[in-house]
């Protein structure tokens, strides 16, 4: 008994394992038992690093040929479970693919899912996960009841990625069975909207703009400041929804989770949705004209003022330094 067989839904990007994958493998290892990586796609290029971070074996579906992973990977997982290798706990990254695969699998194994977590603890047979609510001010810990497998998703950067120094893991084929009526959703073209400069979720400095900018054109101030500081520009959900900037720039619950050295929030009030995506920043500077804005509750330096007055002067001051 106990939690001895842990799977991690593992993802590849640009020929290596994603940082979220390595974080989850590291955490899975610390919970004890054996760690298995499950890859939706071809695992040849990442079997080495998956093993290094603690996977003792890797299941791989092989090339999905454009199929959206939700139904395909969940069906492949179910086939392995039916074949006798039944996990006690499956860790998923809180992202598009992770969410879709865990949702489909949840129905197939008739077990609930717990999402948006930042911590996990195992005590005997009991698995407890923790999720922040109300803008991260309150932490709710929830235990799974009933029998395994337990399905849980974790936000990026919840755990540190640490190599275990292991060798390459054995790759076992876990082909996608016939999907019947649930198949058919197929990717026909891929569009990348990433801007130049450092990536939002990796940048050391992030400057984000919100509704307080007033209009779409004013986002250029945020861009300019980000460039001057060699950082990345981000945005609140409000202005992404309003169509001012693409979704790939959204910081928050539904967007990217960032943990930069410096986070500058310009004209962002600090809705729950946004705060959970940036509260982990080391230094937070906020500019907002509403003294009551929740963002000031987390700011190391808060300026109660109009972004249209403060930002141009700040940009000018930084430019004059050369």
């Amino acid at each position: 008994m106990g939690i001895s067989n842990i799977w991690v839904f593992s993802q590849e990007s640009n020929g290596t394992a994603t940082s979220g994958t390595l974080e989850l493998l590291s955490q899975a290892r610390s919970l004890g038992g054996t760690v298995t990586a499950f890859v939706g796609g071809d695992a040849t290029s990442i079997a080495g690093i998956l093993g290094e971070y603690g996977a003792s074996k890797v299941y791989a579906t092989g090339d999905l040929a454009g199929a959206l992973p939700g139904a395909a990977v969940a069906s492949a997982m179910k086939a392995v479970i039916d074949g006798g290798d039944s996990p006690d706990l499956i860790l998923f990254p809180q992202n598009y693919e992770g969410r879709d695969v865990m949702s489909r699998l949840s129905v197939k194994v008739d077990r609930t899912v717990l999402t948006n977590n930042v911590a996990v603890a195992v005590d005997g047979d009991t698995v407890t996960v923790t999720t922040p609510v109300f803008g991260g001010n309150t932490l709710v810990s929830t235990s799974f009841s009933g029998s395994a497998p337990y399905l849980a998703a974790f936000r990026p950067k919840s755990f540190a990625a640490e190599s275990a120094g292991g060798g390459a893991a054995e790759v076992i084929a876990a082909p996608v069975p016939d999907l019947g009526s649930t198949g058919g959703a197929t990717v026909t073209a891929v569009h990348v909207e990433e801007s130049t400069g450092p990536k939002l979720d990796e940048a050391d400095i992030v400057v984000s703009g919100g509704r307080g900018l007033g209009e779409a054109d004013k986002f250029s101030m945020v861009d300019d400041l980000a460039k001057l500081l060699k950082g990345a520009a981000g945005a609140s959900r409000a202005i992404v929804d309003a169509g001012w900037v693409p979704y790939s720039m959204q910081v928050g619950q539904t967007g990217k989770v960032v943990k930069p050295n410096v986070y500058i929030a310009a004209g962002i009030s600090g809705a729950t949705q946004h705060m959970v995506g940036m509260k982990g920043a080391k230094n937070i500077i906020a500019i907002n004209k509403d003294a009551e804005a929740p963002i000031f509750g987390v700011a190391d330096l808060g300026i109660i003022g109009d972004v249209h007055k403060v930002l141009p002067k700040l940009i000018e001051a930084l430019q004059s330094r050369g």
């Binding site: 598009y96 949840s106 609930t112 649930t182 959703a185 073209a189 230094n283």
Partner: protein, 268 residues
Amino acid sequence: MGYRWVRMSSMKVIVCVKQIPDPALPGELDSSTNTLKRDGKLILDESDSYGVEMALQLVDAAGGGEVALVSMAPNDEMSGMRTALAMGAAQGLLVSDSALAGSDALTTAKVLAAAVQRLGGADLVLAGTESSDGYTGTVPEQMAEVLGLPSVTFAKKVTVDGSTLKVDRQTESGFDEVTCPLPALVSVTAGVVEPRYPSFKGIMAAKSKPVETVTAADLGVTPVGWEGSGQAVAAVEQAPAREAGTIIEDDGESFGKIVEYLETIKVI
């Protein structure tokens, strides 16, 4: 599910809508159950208004058809549903049952899927990507699996070409173009369309539009609520607070404080 999809000459779209506590008011946990208090006035989740709008536009584009709603609530609250009817939906099915309190995401998906089937199924089922109060974000994809449908999540643009959906689907780095056969389920992101404001005429008409109210047992879904939930809250605690920072009022020179701060932490 032993269910036969009925194809019609016009398009039938069912939209999942959630009625939530007003997000403008501070949220509160029920101290006895440690779940979000949902017993006050409930409104239409703004993120679902996009699904309703998209459904209305797709039916228009198809040259006819019907938009129906399914919703689930622990009480018979339907003001949020009336908002969607006032926007132009034709009818609704509300699963209203005190036994539903405490239901987990999987149970919610089973109940809503059964509600879709009770309405006779649809060419397309639409849902928001996640609610603004619970944020679980798994219910649409779970529903698709229960209904045996293909699905496309995080859609930011949806068009229908005969019996095929064409969807622009958000990804971490941009978007993918995806095709999918109908019938299907699609979850839409906020901001994809501009939800119309209900007209006065629409609001008046909504009052007489049919809304059937059923229980989970009527739909044959048991157990639900706490009993059917695969989870139990173990603890609630306050997160460690950040140390209070320096908050100053802009006097025209506050940009200098930011420069100073950046110098102190050595990023410039």
